[in-house]
Symmetry: C2
Subunit: 130 residues, 2 copies
Amino acid sequence: MNIGEVAKKSGLPAKTIRYYEDIGLITPLRDTNGYRSFRDSDMHKLAFLGRSRALGFTIEDCRNLLALWDDQDRASADVRAIAKEHLEQIERKIADLIAIRDTLSHLVQTCAGDGRPDCPILAKLEKFPT
Amino acid sequence: MNIGEVAKKSGLPAKTIRYYEDIGLITPLRDTNGYRSFRDSDMHKLAFLGRSRALGFTIEDCRNLLALWDDQDRASADVRAIAKEHLEQIERKIADLIAIRDTLSHLVQTCAGDGRPDCPILAKLEKFPT
DNA sequence: CTTGACCCTCCAGTTACTGGAAGCCCTATC
DNA sequence: GATAGGGCTTCCAGTAACTGGAGGGTCAAG
């Protein structure tokens, strides 16, 4: 399979696939013309990567998950640890964003949003502590 | 005021303050020895920037907010538009993260996390659509 | 034999900083 | 007067994970 087909099937842009090769996540073969030649195993890895990334795992997490996936003797505890850490990060980020959203939505509601210059949003940014 | 004092008062790292000057958000004076000399107005701008960034506004948003702040003839509608757009982005991001969190927390719960290799997390990443 | 769709590599840019090197400046102390 | 420290300066490079583009080879069809 050439990169175009793999891109279509995996949903990942060709650029991204080349990048994943660059950083050593996949190692497709090469045809005599220099074109990358993807095996089914490469395709599977890319699909795995696509799903891992969609869940917000970092590339380094993905690298580790991929290694565990390849390792038949893995302990599920190792996988779970990665996922759990990531989950906790996401929960922290959600909490942060919710706090921001609440502040912001209050400000947006109280701002008249007309032609006059008075604006509680600017007042907040100007005066109050973070 | 030298940069160290401003950093302490504003809570922003000196590096960040220099960066904000680089990209034209502030324009402190210079002493004869080349040191930056911050006026109160610079300090206020930095505080404003710190709070805006803490609310997740991008630097470009900050630049625009700062310009509106400076402009006595501004229309609050312009400020509100920026904040509202940002708020909507945040709401989208929260929704995305919650979806991820739900998936992930389910997976983490169902994974035994012991010494055995069987792992629903890997199974999910391997098999199912995004 | 040319056209168009692929493919290749390499370089630069993105966001918002952050770290580090090399080197002035200022004050205090010996 | 030499020196030690802390603070200040600039400039360069690196971060995460791509993305865009230039310049150029390859392949199948007409």
